[in-house]
Subunit: 231 residues, 2 copies
DNA sequence: TAGATTGTTAATCGATTAACAATC
DNA sequence: TAGATTGTTAATCGATTAACAATC
């Protein structure tokens, strides 16, 4: 059914599909190292132990056109994915929070290869301000909005304690940030236009803990055979 | 085809709902501090800026019974959620990888309040072995399976580089671990009985990056044209 | 050609949202 | 009581899975 309103033409991209693309991307890179020159969705599914139909749909969603009976030129597909995700276009970011997690994030050199560069770090703790972490000097948190404004930074990472997260998010929004990647275990609220990605460990821990206890036979209700599904 | 055996009629717990429970849980704790003694789902929804119907469904899913016109006694609901998620029952864990992320995880004291206690740390790097991190002495990775076996550890955390993740997961499974929380940016495969929770930052980064570029007006589908031409 | 693989459409499944009944 | 809130059922929506057509 094509309601070909040329305007509403944009396909809706499922979040879950987007989140699977890095899995394919990495596997493709490994294949490239091995000298492989072409790849089919079936190859990907086999190699990763995933459902072939799902892989097909995910790849197709990116809009790449392949050849029946052939698949995709490997390097072309890699480049396609990089372009699709914007991983080949640099986006600057700021980081709030220079604790252990913040420092770890600052040390992830691979972020840059994935289109994200942390330009500056901010903290409220006087003892940390002025210190250098992975080559970046920690600045006072209050400087953040102006820095964001001056440099047109798009992305803000929050790695502060939970109780500071909301106010830091507000600072970022004030400065004109467009997207927030929140690592603090806190529910923050932002204007609708702001893209918010939460990386709250306790969300995962809840799921993991519940499933683990269920599997062990601990009784929320009746324990039952759990059919494991995705990975 | 689901057999509606009235007795073994276990409700299916949606993953997404599980992952939202910590949000409610935290908000309830804040309310408790403020001296509130009862709460309705509408209160939660309002306070958190979430959809009331969804909150209702999520809370109902946990099996708690409330009173119409009243809601739930606040403390009772908090305790109920803790019990439902298993956060009031200690589960031991091991950590593989004593790098910056591993160290940060080790330092999260709140994990213990959420039912998880990291009992031991392992690394393959001779320079790290023997060091103490947050009071835990780093042990050789090879000791991991035996430790897990001896102590009946349920949960394994992987915070190694990507290329070590699969072999570490295998070690954990060998030792008899029941669930793996994988922080390495790697797709790992485990037997079906093993619960696997991935915390892959690049999954999120893909989603975030794509959405950000789309919002900025960057053209994923326009570039498609230039690529499509070359074959 | 034959058949593997892409491309596309349909069916199924599950989660969200909406509607409404029960009840304190 | 009245009406706010829980409890439950139905409708909608979206994603996954399956089926099949096109094509190189």
């Amino acid at each position: 059914m094509q309601s070909d309103d040329a305007k509403t033409r944009r396909r809706e991209i499922p979040e879950a599909s987007l989140r699977r693309l890095p899995i394919y991307y990495r596997f493709l890179q490994k294949m490239a190292v091995d000298g492989v020159v072409r790849v089919s969705c079936a190859d990907l599914a086999r190699g990763l132990g995933l459902d072939p139909t799902q892989v097909r749909k995910d790849i197709e969603m990116t809009g790449i056109v392949g050849k029946p009976r052939f698949g995709y030129p490997l390097v072309h597909l890699i480049g396609w994915l990089e372009n699709f995700l914007g991983w080949n276009r640099a986006k600057s970011a700021v980081l709030a929070g220079a604790g252990s997690l913040g420092s770890a994030l600052l040390g992830y050199e691979k972020f840059r290869k994935h289109g994200m560069e942390i330009m500056a770090v901010f903290d409220i703790d006087g003892a940390k301000i002025g210190q250098r972490i992975h080559g970046k000097e920690v600045q006072p948190l209050g400087f953040l909005p102006d820095f964001v404004r001056r440099t047109h930074t798009l992305l803000g990472l929050i790695a502060t304690p939970a109780d500071a997260a909301q106010s830091v998010a507000d600072l970022m929004v004030t400065g004109g940030i467009r997207a927030i990647w929140n690592f603090a275990p806190a529910h923050i609220r932002v204007p609708e236009r702001i893209i918010l990605q939460n990386e709250d460990l306790y969300h995962s821990l809840a799921s993991l803990s519940f499933k683990l206890e269920r599997q062990l036979g601990a009784p929320p209700f009746e324990s039952e055979i759990s059919y494991a599904k995705d990975h």
